[in-house]
C-alpha cells in the first residue's frame, strides 16, 4: 500500500484543475452551466416526446404505391406503303378489330369486324367540307389531339395540334399497334402517342417518358381524341355519356340554354390544394368513364392510368364546330393563384414541375344490344372485375339492412367555454333499436358518429370514447347487445378533414401544403391531414375499437377526398387514394367491415357499404337526363345508400329514386330533439328526432324490404318506359318499375316476366 497521505496530496493538487475543466468556480458560470444542462435535457425530452411513435405502414401490411413508367417503343420507323382510298394503312388486326393509320394526318381508325362499323379518330375530309369554321379550330377537327403549352414565366396558354406545319412525325410499329412520336422543332417539345388493339377495342397510351421539354415551352394539357367517333349535328340518334353524378346523357338533339354548353371537370373533383375556389357546388366525378352512343354503335372509354389528373371534357355541336365532342384532357401542369402578400392581389401562375404520369385510355367498342348506357355500365363492370377492382358479390339477404346513422352529440359553446351535449347515448340507442326491431325492422347496420372525446367527427382526440354517451364501457355493452341481434356497429371517423380548434396535431407539420407551399386551410376552420399520418393513426383507432367489439369503421373522406400534398416529400393524388384504399382493406381485415362516403371507383374493392353514394345530378343544363350508370356497374358487389331519408329535399321523389337505383334505406337520427345539435358541428342535421321519424322509418323499411332478394344481383338493363316511369331489370329477370307521377313502384319477380 502506498502512503495514503501522498495520494491525498496528489488529489488535492489535481482536483482544482479538474474542477476548472468541468465545473467552473464562479457562481455565474456555474449557473450558466446548469442552465445549459437543463436546456439540453429539455430539448432532449421534447425531441423524445415528438419522436415518430406511429406504427409503420409496413406493420399494417400497407405497401407504398409502386411507380413504374411504360417504356417507349423501340424499333425502326415505319413507312407504310399501301394506303387505301381514304389514305389509311392497315397497322394490325385481331379477332374482332382492325387498326388503321393515316401517315399524313396521323389519324387512326378501328374497324369493328362483327358489325362492319368503322370508328374514326376524326371526321373525314368529305365530312369536313361542309364545316364553316376555319383556322385552328378546323385543324383541331382533323388532329388526333390538341395540345396546350405555356412559355416560361407566362400564364397564357397557347394551342397546337398534329397538323402544325413543321412537326416531325415518326411512327414505330408495336406488338399490337403503332406509336407515333411528334416533335415540334420550334417549341422544343416532343410527345408520343401509342394506339393498340385489345380484345374489347382500342387502347391509347401517352407515356410520360415520351414527353420532352428541351426549351422554354412547357406542356400544359393534352386533349386526346376529342373527335373519336364524333357525330355531326343531329344526323344520327344518340347521346354523349358524361360521368355527372350517377351518370348523365347529353342528347344530340337536346336543346339547352346557351350557357349550359360545356362540360369540363376533373375526375374526383379539382384538387383543393390547387386553391381553385369553386363557388357553386357540383357533383364530383366518381368514376373515370365517358362514352358515345350513335345509332347501333357505342363506346365506353375508361381512363385506366393517369385518371387522377385527367379532366373529362365535352361540347355539343354548334358551340365551336358542328360536331359533338367528348374526350379526356390530361393535365400536366396546374394553374393557380399565387398569393404574394396578404394584402396584394394574387398572381396567376402555372406550376413549374410537370405531372409525371402515364396516361392510358381504353375505348371499349359496343354494338347492337349493348350499344347504350346499360351496355356501357356492363362494359365498365367487366373492366372492374377483370382488374380486380370490385369486391366479391355480396351475400344474399333475407331482409334489407337499414343503415341507421346515430348522432351521439357534439361540442358547443356554453358560457364562455365549450361543452359536449349528448343527443343519443348508447343506452338510448339500444332502446331505439329495440323498438324498431319490435316494429318489424329485421336488419340494420348501425353507424355511430359524434362519439369522439373531441366532440366532433373531425378530430384526433378520439379516446376515451365520449363519457357522456356512456364511455368505453357503454360502447362495449352496446356492441355486445348488437352482436346478439346480428347488427354490425360501425363508428364514423374522419380521415382527411380536421377541425383546427379540435385537434392536438400541429397543422403546420401534419397538414398538407397547397400548391403555393402554404399550409392548406379552409374558411370553415379545417385543414387536410397528411394521408400517411391519417392512415398510420388509424391503426391505434382500430386497435382500441376492436377491444370494444366494434365491427367496422366508416372513414369519411376515404372514398371522396383526393388531394395532393405539395410539401417536400409530399404525396400525389394517386398516393392519397392508394393509402386510403389500403386502410379500408386493413379495416376489413381487422374488424370485418369497412365503409366510406361517396365511393370513388378506387374505394369499391375494399368497401362493404358506401354512404351518400352519387344518386343525384349536378342540376347541370348540359345534362339532359340522369341515368343510373354507376349504380348499375357496382350493384351486387357493394351496398350503397343515398342521402339520409330525414334530410331529403323532396321526400317521396328521392325515396323512389333510391328504390330505382337499388340503394338501401338510410336514416340519420338522434334520440333527443334535433335542436340540441344547434351550435355543434352537426348543425346541418336539422331534423333528426327519433320520435318524429320513427313511423316514417318503419314505413319506408317495409317498402325497401321488397328489394332484399335483389341486393346480390347485377343490374342489367335500365329503360325509360314513359315520362316519369322507369324500369330496372336485374339479372334474374326481376323488374323494378318506379312511377314518379303516381309516386309508386312495383317489383315483378324474375323468370315469369322475362322478356
Amino acid at each position: 500500500m502506498a502512503d495514503p497521505n501522498v495520494n491525498r496530496y496528489v488529489e488535492n493538487v489535481h482536483r482544482p484543475q479538474k474542477w476548472l475543466q468541468l465545473w467552473p468556480r464562479k457562481p455565474r458560470q456555474r449557473l450558466f452551466v446548469v442552465l445549459l444542462l437543463l436546456a439540453a435535457t429539455l430539448a432532449g425530452v421534447i425531441a423524445w416526446g415528438n419522436r415518430d411513435t406511429l406504427p409503420r405502414l409496413r406493420e399494417m401490411g400497407i405497401s407504398e404505391r409502386m411507380e413504374h413508367f411504360i417504356p417507349l417503343a423501340q424499333g425502326e420507323a415505319w413507312l407504310p406503303k399501301q394506303l387505301n382510298e381514304n389514305g389509311f394503312a392497315t397497322v394490325t388486326e385481331n379477332s374482332s378489330f382492325t387498326l388503321f393509320f393515316a401517315p399524313d394526318t396521323t389519324q387512326i381508325a378501328v374497324l369493328d369486324k362483327t358489325s362492319g362499323f368503322l370508328w374514326r379518330s376524326n371526321p373525314s375530309k368529305d365530312q369536313l367540307a361542309a364545316e364553316t369554321v376555319k383556322g385552328m379550330i378546323l385543324s383541331n377537327l382533323e388532329s388526333p389531339f390538341v395540345l396546350e403549352y405555356v412559355s416560361a414565366g407566362k400564364a397564357q396558354r397557347n394551342m397546337t395540334n398534329a397538323l402544325e406545319e413543321n412537326v416531325d412525325k415518326t411512327a414505330i410499329l408495336t406488338e399490337q399497334g403503332v406509336e407515333i412520336t411528334y416533335h415540334y422543332p420550334k417549341l422544343f417539345l416532343t410527345l408520343a402517342i401509342r394506339y393498340e388493339l385489345t380484345e374489347h377495342g382500342l387502347e391509347v397510351t401517352v407515356p410520360t417518358q415520351g414527353i420532352q421539354e428541351n426549351g422554354d415551352n412547357y406542356l400544359f394539357s393534352l386533349q386526346l381524341l376529342p373527335y373519336f367517333g364524333a357525330v355531326s349535328g343531329t344526323e344520327e340518334e344518340g347521346y354523349l355519356f358524361v360521368p355527372d353524378g350517377p351518370g348523365g346523357l347529353v342528347y344530340y338533339n337536346g336543346i339547352r340554354p346557351p350557357s349550359g354548353n360545356r362540360y369540363d371537370y376533373m375526375i374526383y373533383d379539382d384538387d383543393p390544394a390547387n386553391l381553385q375556389e369553386k363557388k357553386v357546388p357540383q357533383e364530383a366525378i366518381a368514376y373515370p368513364v365517358f362514352g358515345i352512343k350513335r345509332g347501333e354503335q357505342a363506346y365506353a372509354a375508361i381512363v385506366k392510368d393517369g385518371k387522377y389528373t385527367t379532366r373529362i371534357t365535352a361540347m355539343p355541336a354548334g358551340v365551336q364546330t358542328s360536331y359533338h365532342s367528348i374526350g379526356a384532357k390530361f393535365a400536366y401542369r396546374e394553374e393557380y393563384w399565387r398569393k404574394v402578400s396578404m394584402m396584394a392581389q394574387p398572381v396567376n401562375s402555372v406550376q413549374k414541375e410537370r405531372i409525371r404520369q402515364d396516361r392510358v385510355i381504353e375505348y371499349r367498342l359496343l354494338s347492337g344490344e349493348k350499344a347504350d348506357y346499360s351496355g356501357m355500365a356492363a362494359a365498365y363492370r367487366d373492366y372492374l372485375l377483370q382488374t380486380h377492382q370490385l369486391p366479391k358479390e355480396v351475400t344474399t339477404f333475407e331482409h334489407i339492412p337499414l343503415q341507421l346513422g346515430l348522432v351521439g352529440g357534439g361540442t358547443k359553446d356554453v358560457f364562455g367555454g365549450r361543452s359536449y351535449v349528448p343527443t343519443t347515448t348508447f343506452v338510448q340507442a339500444e332502446q331505439m333499436i329495440d323498438e324498431l326491431v319490435s316494429e318489424g325492422v329485421a336488419k340494420m347496420t348501425i353507424v355511430y358518429e359524434g362519439w369522439q372525446a373531441g366532440g366532433t367527427g373531425e378530430t384526433d382526440r378520439r379516446f376515451p370514447v365520449q363519457q357522456k354517451l356512456g364511455g368505453a364501457k357503454g360502447l362495449r355493452q352496446f356492441t355486445a347487445g348488437m352482436q346478439q341481434r346480428g347488427f354490425p356497429v360501425l363508428l364514423k371517423d374522419s380521415l382527411a378533414s380536421m377541425k383546427i380548434d379540435a385537434t392536438q396535431l400541429s397543422m403546420k407539420t401534419e397538414g398538407i401544403r397547397s400548391i403555393d407551399t402554404t399550409v392548406f386551410q379552409t374558411r370553415g376552420g379545417t385543414f387536410l391531414l397528411k394521408p400517411e399520418t391519417a392512415v398510420r393513426t388509424a391503426k391505434d383507432t382500430i386497435d382500441k375499437l376492436e377491444k370494444l367489439g366494434v365491427n367496422g369503421l366508416l372513414f369519411d373522406g376515404a372514398g371522396s377526398a383526393v388531394f395532393r400534398d405539395y410539401a417536400d416529400g409530399g404525396v400525389q393524388r394517386e398516393d392519397t387514394a392508394h393509402l386510403y384504399k389500403s386502410l379500408l382493406a386493413y379495416t376489413q381485415e381487422r374488424l370485418g367491415f369497412s365503409s366510406t362516403g361517396r365511393g370513388n371507383d378506387y374505394s369499391l374493392v375494399a368497401s362493404d357499404l358506401l354512404t351518400n353514394f352519387p344518386l343525384e345530378s349536378s342540376y347541370d343544363y348540359f345534362v339532359d337526363e340522369t341515368v343510373p350508370f354507376y349504380p348499375m356497374a357496382v350493384h351486387g358487389y357493394v351496398l350503397y345508400s343515398g342521402k339520409e331519408g330525414n334530410l331529403r329535399n323532396e321526400y317521396d321523389k328521392e325515396m323512389l329514386k333510391a328504390i330505382e337505383y337499388g340503394a338501401i334505406p338510410f336514416f340519420r337520427l338522434t334520440y333527443t330533439r334535433s335542436r340540441e345539435l344547434k351550435g355543434t358541428h352537426y348543425e346541418h342535421v336539422y331534423s333528426s328526432e327519433y320520435g318524429v321519424w320513427k313511423e316514417r322509418v318503419i314505413e319506408e323499411y317495409k317498402k325497401f324490404d321488397q328489394l332484399a332478394p335483389l341486393l346480390h344481383l347485377q343490374m342489367v338493363k335500365h329503360v325509360k318506359r314513359a315520362e316519369g316511369v322507369y324500369t330496372m331489370t336485374y339479372d334474374d329477370g326481376t323488374r323494378v318499375t318506379v312511377d314518379y307521377n303516381s309516386g309508386t313502384f312495383k317489383v315483378e319477380k324474375g323468370g315469369a316476366y322475362r322478356e
Binding site: 336543346i255 339547352r256 340554354p257 346557351p258 350557357s259 349550359g260 354548353n261 360545356r262 363557388k279 357553386v280 357546388p281 357540383q282 357533383e283 364530383a284 399565387r338 404574394v340 402578400s341 396578404m342 394584402m343 358547443k412 359553446d413 356554453v414 358560457f415 364562455g416 403555393d516 407551399t517 402554404t518 374558411r523 370553415g524 343525384e616 349536378s618 342540376y619 347541370d620 343544363y621 348540359f622 342521402k643 334530410l647 331529403r648 329535399n649 323532396e650 321526400y651 330533439r673 334535433s674 335542436r675 340540441e676 345539435l677 344547434k678 351550435g679 348543425e683 346541418h684 336539422y686 331534423s687 333528426s688 328526432e689 318524429v692
Partner: protein, 684 residues
C-alpha cells in the same frame, strides 16, 4: 414595462372583436342542390343552412318559342298567372302561360308602325288587361289592349315643373287603380315620375334621401360655395324597380343605398317600412304575393330573400355564378315575379331565360305558419308550427309561435320557456308579467310578513356580530384591511374627503386586488345574471375576455395617461396614488350594479327604465369620482383639474391610436418578411 399590460390586453381585445365580427358566409351546401337555403340566426349572428323552401322548376325561353329570349329585363305576372316578359333584345313583349308555354308576342309590327317597340325594359298589365310598356329605346310609354292592339303612346310630358334637361328614359313602370303611371327613369335620382292617365306630369314620387357621410359634412363646413360647386354633387340613390301590390302599395327597390332598399309607399308617398335598412346593397327587384310576403332579388349574390309582411327577413336562398350552368343558379338577374301558386319567376338577362322556383312542402308549412302568426291567428298556426319543428329544429321563429300560443292559452311558464328559446324579450316579458302578477296576488301578504321577520332577524344578528367582532383583538393587517374597506365605503358619498384620505398613503395590494376582482366579478355577473329581457341573446356566444377588456382597458389606459399627464403638468400624485385612487373610484360600479342586476330579474319590459336609470346614474357617478380623484390626488383647482382631465382623455386616444398603428405596422412588416421568404422559396 408599464405600457405592456394594457398592450397585451388590447391585442386580446382585438382578437375578441375579430371573433365577434365572424364572417357571415353560409356553410357549404350539400351536393344535391347547387345552392343553399339559410337563415340568419339573429341572436348568434350565424348563418344556418336548412332544407330548401324553393327548388328549381322549369327553365323557359330558349325552346318552344319562335325566337329565344334575348336580354330579357322585366316581367309581370297577372292575377290569372299570365306572364308578360320585356324581351329587350328582341324589341318585344312576350306572353307565356302558367306552365311557361309561349302564347304570343306584342310590339313586333315593324319599325314604321307606331306600336313597334325598341328595347323595352319594363312591362305592366292593369286589372282590366291593358298592357303598359316602358319603351326604353324610343323614350316613351306605350299602351296596348289585352289582344296586343296599339292604343296610345306617352312621350315626355310637357310641364314647367319638370327640371330642364330632364332625360325621359322609362325603364320600369306601374299603373295604379286610378290609371296614374309611376315611371322609373334610367339612372334618375329624382324618384318615380308620376303621370296621370292623360299623360300629364303630376310630380315626382318616392324620392330617396341623399346620404351624407362625415367627409361631405366636413367639406360643407369648411369649403366656400365656389369650391363646393366643383365637388361632385351628392345624389340620392336611384330607384331601380317598382312593383304594385294588390293592397295598393308601391314597392320601390333602390340600388346603392344604405337604408330603404325596399320601400312600401302608400299613395301619399309614406313608407310603411319607415325607411329601414334591409342590409342588402344590390337589390334589383321586389315581388309581393297575395299574402303580402315579400321576395327580393339580389343581383350580386343571386340570392332571393323572403320577408314577412312587415319586412322582417325570414330566409335566403339561391346563388349566382359568372359561368352559371346549373338549374337554380343565376348570372345577371333583372326581375322577379310571383304567381298565385307562389312560384317565383326570375328573369336572367345574361342567361336569356326565365327560371321558375317551386315551393317545397316544408316551405309551404313554414310560410303558412308565419302568415298565420303575423295575422295573430295563433290557434290556427299551431299545427303548421308543429310540422315545421318536426322538420327543422334549428329555427327560432317556431318557438316564438309556440310562445304566443302558450301565452294565449295562459300557460305562462311554458310561454316563458319558448320565448327564452327563441330569444324574444317582449314575449318573455309579457309572460313574466303574468306570472309575477299571479304571484303577487297570491303571496303578497306572506311575502311582506316574511320580509319583516327577516329584516328584524337581520338587525338583531347584525348587532350581535358587530359587538362580537369589536370585542376581539385582530392582527394588524386585518385592521388595516378593515379600515381601507371602510374608507372605500365612505368615499361613495364623500368623494373629496375620501380621496384626501388616500393621499400620501399606501393602500394594501390586498385591498386593490379585492376591488378590481370584485369589479370583474360584477361585470361577469352583469352578463350572466342580468334579467333575460336585458340580454335576449345566446349567452354561450359571449366572449368573456372581450367583455372584461371593455371594462379594464379604458380604466388601465386612464391610470397610465393620467399619471403621465399629471407628472408633466405638475400634479402631486405618485403612480401608486393614482392607481389606488382609480381603484377606489370603481366602487360605485360594484355597489350600484348589484341592485341593478337583482332588479333586472324582477322587472318587465315596460319597467326597464328603473334598471336603466340605475346604470346611468352609476356611470355619471363614476365619471364624477374620476374627476374628483384627479383633482384631489394631484391637488389641482377645479379649472386645472378640468383641463388635465381633458388632456388625459386625449392621451388615452393617442395611446390607442398608436397601439393600432403599431400593430398594423408590425403586421405589415411580418407580411413583408413572409412575402420575401415565399419569393425566395418560389424562385429558389
Amino acid at each position: 414595462m408599464k405600457g405592456r399590460i394594457p398592450l397585451k390586453l388590447l391585442v386580446a381585445c382585438f382578437a375578441g372583436l375579430q371573433l365577434a365580427m365572424a364572417t357571415l358566409i353560409p356553410p357549404k351546401a350539400s351536393a344535391s342542390l347547387p345552392y343553399s337555403t339559410w337563415f340568419m340566426d339573429q341572436e348568434t349572428n350565424r348563418a344556418i343552412r336548412i332544407q330548401p323552401i324553393y327548388v328549381p322548376g322549369q327553365v323557359i325561353g330558349y325552346t318552344d318559342i319562335d325566337v329565344p329570349l334575348s336580354e330579357p329585363s322585366d316581367l309581370y305576372i297577372t292575377a290569372d298567372d299570365l306572364v308578360y316578359v320585356a324581351d329587350t333584345g328582341n324589341n318585344r313583349i312576350v306572353v307565356f302561360d302558367q306552365q311557361g308555354r309561349y302564347l304570343r308576342s306584342i310590339g313586333e309590327e315593324g319599325s314604321e308602325s307606331e306600336g313597334s317597340l325598341n328595347a323595352p325594359e319594363g312591362v305592366f298589365v292593369t286589372g282590366d288587361g291593358m298592357i303598359y310598356v316602358a319603351d326604353t329605346g324610343n323614350k316613351r310609354v306605350v299602351v296596348y289592349e289585352a289582344e296586343g292592339q296599339f292604343v296610345r303612346a306617352f312621350n315626355k310630358p310637357q310641364s314647367s315643373l319638370l327640371p330642364e334637361g330632364y332625360f325621359y328614359v322609362p325603364t320600369k313602370l306601374v299603373v295604379d287603380h286610378r290609371g296614374v303611371m309611376y315611371i322609373v327613369n334610367k339612372d334618375s335620382y329624382q324618384g318615380l315620375l308620376r303621370m296621370n292617365g292623360e299623360g300629364q306630369f303630376t310630380g315626382f314620387f318616392g324620392v330617396n334621401k341623399t346620404q351624407i357621410d362625415w367627409l361631405t359634412r366636413l367639406k360643407r363646413s369648411i369649403l366656400n360655395q365656389h369650391q363646393l360647386d366643383q365637388e361632385v354633387a351628392k345624389r340620392p340613390g336611384a330607384i331601380s324597380n317598382v312593383t304594385y301590390s294588390t293592397d295598393r302599395f308601391l314597392l320601390t327597390t333602390s340600388f346603392g343605398v344604405d337604408k330603404g332598399q325596399i320601400k312600401k309607399l302608400n299613395a301619399g308617398g309614406v313608407d310603411a317600412f319607415l325607411n329601414k335598412s334591409f342590409y342588402e346593397s344590390k337589390l334589383v327587384d321586389t315581388a309581393i304575393d297575395s299574402d303580402r310576403f315579400l321576395y327580393s332579388m339580389n343581383s350580386e349574390s343571386g340570392e332571393i330573400s323572403v320577408y314577412d309582411p312587415y319586412g322582417q327577413v325570414l330566409l335566403y336562398f339561391g346563388a349566382s355564378d359568372k359561368l352559371a350552368h346549373q338549374h337554380g343558379i343565376v348570372n345577371y338577374p333583372t326581375s322577379l315575379g310571383v304567381n298565385s301558386k307562389k312560384e317565383l319567376w326570375v328573369v336572367d338577362s345574361s342567361l336569356n331565360v326565365l327560371q321558375v322556383f317551386k315551393r317545397t312542402a316544408f316551405g309551404d308549412s313554414f310560410l303558412t305558419a308565419v302568415k298565420l302568426y303575423t295575422e295573430g291567428s295563433y290557434e290556427q298556426s299551431k299545427p303548421y308550427w308543429e310540422e315545421v319543428v318536426e322538420q327543422n329544429g334549428m329555427m327560432n321563429l317556431p318557438y316564438k309561435g309556440f310562445g304566443e300560443i302558450a301565452l294565449h292559452e295562459k300557460r305562462y311558464k311554458e310561454a316563458m320557456d319558448h320565448f327564452r328559446d327563441s330569444f324574444d324579450a317582449a314575449g318573455y316579458s309579457e309572460a313574466f308579467w303574468n306570472i309575477r302578477n299571479n304571484w303577487i296576488q297570491n303571496n303578497l301578504f306572506f311575502a311582506v310578513v316574511l320580509l319583516a321577520i327577516f329584516a328584524l332577524l337581520l338587525r338583531y344578528f347584525f348587532k350581535r356580530i358587530r359587538r362580537f367582532v369589536k370585542g376581539r383583538a385582530r392582527p394588524a393587517f386585518a385592521i388595516q384591511y378593515g379600515r381601507e374597506a371602510r374608507d372605500a365605503w365612505y368615499m361613495l358619498l364623500h368623494p373629496y374627503e375620501g380621496f384626501y384620505r388616500l393621499k400620501e398613503r399606501t393602500i394594501s395590494w390586498a385591498m386593490i386586488l379585492t376591488i378590481v376582482l370584485l369589479a370583474i366579478a360584477v361585470r361577469l355577473l352583469s352578463i350572466f345574471k342580468m334579467g333575460f329581457i336585458f340580454h335576449p341573446y345566446d349567452l354561450s356566444k359571449v366572449n368573456l375576455l372581450l367583455e372584461v377588456c371593455l371594462l379594464l382597458v379604458p380604466w388601465t389606459t386612464w391610470i397610465i395617461a393620467n399619471y403621465l399627464v399629471s407628472a408633466v403638468k405638475g400634479g402631486e400624485g405618485r403612480f401608486r396614488e393614482v392607481l389606488q385612487a382609480s381603484v377606489y373610484a370603481l366602487v360605485p360600479y360594484i355597489v350600484l350594479m348589484l341592485p341593478a342586476i337583482i332588479l333586472s330579474n324582477i322587472v318587465v319590459l315596460e319597467e326597464r327604465i328603473l334598471v336603466d336609470a340605475i346604470t346611468q346614474v352609476m356611470w355619471i357617478w363614476i365619471a364624477i369620482q374620476f374627476f374628483i380623484m384627479n383633482q384631489v390626488i394631484h391637488n389641482f383647482d377645479f379649472l386645472e383639474s378640468l383641463k388635465i382631465a381633458v388632456i388625459t382623455l386625449l392621451t388615452i386616444a393617442i395611446i390607442w391610436i398608436f397601439t393600432v398603428i403599431l400593430s398594423g405596422l408590425s403586421f405589415n412588416l411580418f407580411d413583408f418578411l413572409k412575402q420575401i421568404y415565399r419569393e425566395v422559396t418560389f424562385y429558389g
